[in-house]
Amino acid sequence: SQTIHQWPATLVQPVGSPLSLECTVEGTSNPNLYWYRQAAGRGLQLLFYSVGIGQISSEVPQNLSASRPQDRQFILSSKKLLLSDSGFYLCAWSFGGSYNEEFFGPGTRLTVL
């Protein structure tokens, strides 16, 4: 069976500090991978998605970047965090193509002070 791991669970960082959130998937190969951000009480905003190693598409201009160094590893990064980067970050994967559900990780609560 497939599992998705995401860490850390919570993170408090000062403004201007770097960020690295990691997501890994087990039990499948060549998944589509996604990073979402969820503001409090809101829906999910797709930040990045990837259909393969080194292939990253950005959905919205922002202070963040993503990388996929291995098939089942997806990393969300920032060189300098802003207050507006605070939120709940969710990683997800799917088998790819249409008609496929997405499987979500447990999320990372990021607070930038």
Partner: protein
């Protein structure tokens, strides 16, 4: 703007009652999905309905899709306290391969 818009934003019911929430969207879709999120957790997939389907059931869940009205509904029958969560619809648009767009969600509270 969001592709999926849920209605109502919040819903409070008692155990045993049915909960109905709606989702409207703007453009053509391949499928529409419903997800559930417990507070502070990741989302869990509930059900997927394809654009050529009109109704689907899964346990106590019933989903309908009306592509002419660009709307869907999720019905939870005989609700339980454990159904307390936020529910999101997500659309897989025809011009947006493999990417879902989520609505803002309906927050459901079921009281014993």
């Amino acid at each position: 703007s969001q592709q999926g818009e849920e209605d109502p934003q919040a819903l409070s019911i008692q155990e045993g009652e049915n909960a109905t929430m709606n989702c409207s969207y703007k453009t053509s879709i391949n499928n529409l999905q419903w997800y559930r999120q417990n507070s502070g957790r990741g989302l869990v997939h509930l059900i997927l309905i394809r654009s050529n389907e009109r109704e689907k059931h899964s346990g106590r869940l019933r989903v309908t899709l009306d592509t002419s009205k660009k709307s869907s509904s999720l019905l939870i029958t005989a609700s339980r306290a454990a159904d307390t969560a936020s529910y999101f619809c997500a659309t897989d648009k025809t011009d947006s391969w493999g990417k879902l767009q989520f609505g803002a969600g309906t927050q459901v509270v079921v009281t014993p």
